[in-house]
């Protein structure tokens, strides 16, 4: 974190990498002389680190639990704001070798999802249940990037990833919408941190993320409205 008003440090969930880097450019344009630094990582780790005094002015997590960890750990200087959502989609490799057209085709193919212990896995399980699909995966990946990598490389016939991930890999995968996914949302939260010493920049960033300009960038990256 900056000791003056020219540097802003943002700890953010890895899935926010692309939109936040775009936001950074816009933000630095608006606030001359300001430099935004990031620390991307898993939400859980970032939240834990925040409670232990990791440098940072703003924390953005890809779930509610992590933000609660930060809150309980007295790391937050302000109430968290829900600023985006993400939803699951089904992706298949560009050439769709298994000919999957919907969630019902999964049975008998090599498909993957996240592990039950993490949000993207829990969402997938819920959606599968909602759609009364009993297919079992070939692997329960430890994060959504691993799911995407497997599908993008053709190692898996299909996989559950967030809409934003599908956009990142748009050349390599084909997206199949899942019925009911718009109700099973994964929320994103952002909050100013206790150790913020950026003299107002942190609040500016939080505000900027929720501003129309910020929301547009997030939407372009595939995020849903908060």
């Amino acid at each position: 974190s900056g000791t003056d008003d020219t540097e802003l440090t943002v700890a953010a969930a890895a899935s926010l990498t692309e939109p936040f880097q775009l936001l950074e450019a816009a933000f630095e344009e608006q606030n001359e002389g300001v430099n935004v630094r990031f620390s991307f990582g898993s939400s859980t780790t970032l939240a834990e680190q925040a409670t232990q005094g990791a440098p940072g002015d703003v924390l953005a997590t890809a779930d509610e639990e992590s933000m609660q960890v930060a809150e309980t750990g007295k790391a937050l200087a302000a109430d968290p704001v829900r600023f985006a959502t993400n939803r699951l989609v089904l992706v298949v490799p560009a050439d769709n070798p298994a000919g999957i057209t919907g969630i019902d085709d999964l049975a008998g193919s090599d498909w993957v999802r996240c592990d039950d212990k993490i949000p993207c896995g829990r969402l997938a399980v819920t959606l599968l249940a909602d759609n009364q699909t009993a297919a079992s995966p070939s692997s329960k990946e430890i994060d959504v990037k691993a799911v995407l990598a497997k599908v993008a490389s053709g190692e898996a016939d299909a996989g559950f990833v967030y809409a934003t991930d599908a956009i990142v890999a748009r050349d390599e995968v084909e997206v199949i919408e899942i019925p009911g996914s718009e109700t099973e949302l994964n929320p994103y939260f952002i909050a100013r941190l206790e150790q913020d010493d950026s003299v107002g920049l942190a609040d500016k960033w939080v505000a900027f993320v929720s501003s129309p300009a910020g929301q547009q960038i997030l939407a372009d990256a595939g995020f849903g409205r908060p």
Binding site: S42, T44, T45, E48, D110, V112, D115, K117, I118, P137, S138, S139, K140, E141, I142, A146, A149, K150, S153, G154, E155
Partner: protein, 263 residues
């Protein structure tokens, strides 16, 4: 009698103690900060038992694979002179510098269903390594092999080549010499190399998860289990780590006592 070579100098003892502390303190801190209360419950879980067994199984098979492939490779590097030896040695070192996840990506590009070797294999036999226990072994082997080869090569180079020559004058073939002279003389280094390989495989995570995935019973090793637990229940993850730690130590101690009993 005091040591006839003289007292060990402080200049060596002090850094040795510091090095020991650097390794010791984090372990102690980890143990102290672990909720022991959870341990009983953890130990009873089928998930843990499966993952632990799979870790031990795959690390051990990978260690044997590293021995079978790595010992000859180390021998070639240490004993033969041929153009391109330097190149080969560098090649062996490269996988070390790959972050494990990238190693997983590389393995996928090679042996995955759509990979360089994997694709024809898949098309011919319908078999693919990802999602299989064999895939975990391949990932472990790929990541650990460099350690094993370099450690063993060092040991082979230190053992005097002249004994190989002596064996040749007695009519021994190179293979017999290798088995009965070269290997026994380099044994401490070979065992150390195997131990390095085993330990590295036990802790390996990035390449395994990327290449072989994470499914209970077939590809979920302890590190994967710990990683996913960390996201849902950090305390549980710590006690799982402790289980892995204690278990590995027991195995290592047992092996060391058997193998490396210093004369």
């Amino acid at each position: 009698m005091t040591d006839p070579l003289g007292r060990p100098p402080a200049r060596l003892l002090v850094p040795a103690v510091l090095g020991t502390l650097l390794l010791l303190v984090p372990l102690v801190a980890l143990v102290l900060s672990t909720p022991w209360s959870l341990l009983g419950e953890q130990l009873a879980s089928r998930e843990l038992r499966q993952a632990l067994w799979l870790s031990v199984l795959t690390a051990t098979v990978a260690m044997l694979a590293c021995l079978v492939l790595g010992l000859p490779l180390a021998w070639v590097l240490a004993r033969l002179e041929f153009p391109g030896r330097g190149l080969l040695r560098t090649l062996v070192t490269i996988p070390l510098v790959l972050p494990p996840v990238v190693a997983g990506v590389a393995l996928m590009a090679a042996f995955g269903r759509t990979g360089l070797i994997g694709k024809p294999l898949w098309e011919l036999t319908g078999f693919a390594l990802p999602y299989t226990t064999a895939g975990v072994v391949v990932a472990h082997t790929f990541v650990s092999l460099p350690f094993v080869v370099l450690a063993i090569e060092g040991a082979l180079r230190s053992a005097r080549k002249e004994y190989d020559a002596a064996a040749a004058t007695l009519g021994a073939s190179r293979w017999l010499t290798f088995r009965t002279v070269t290997v026994p003389l380099a044994m401490p280094g070979i065992l150390a190399g195997m131990m390095l390989g085993w330990a590295r495989s036990i802790g390996e995570f990035g390449a395994t998860i990327t290449f072989a995935g994470n499914y209970e019973g077939t590809t979920q090793t302890m590190p994967s289990l710990i990683y996913v637990s960390m996201n849902s229940d950090p305390e549980a993850a710590r006690s799982l780590s402790l289980v892995l730690l204690v278990f590995s130590v027991v195995v290592l101690v047992a092996l060391r006592d058997r193998w490396l009993a210093t004369p």
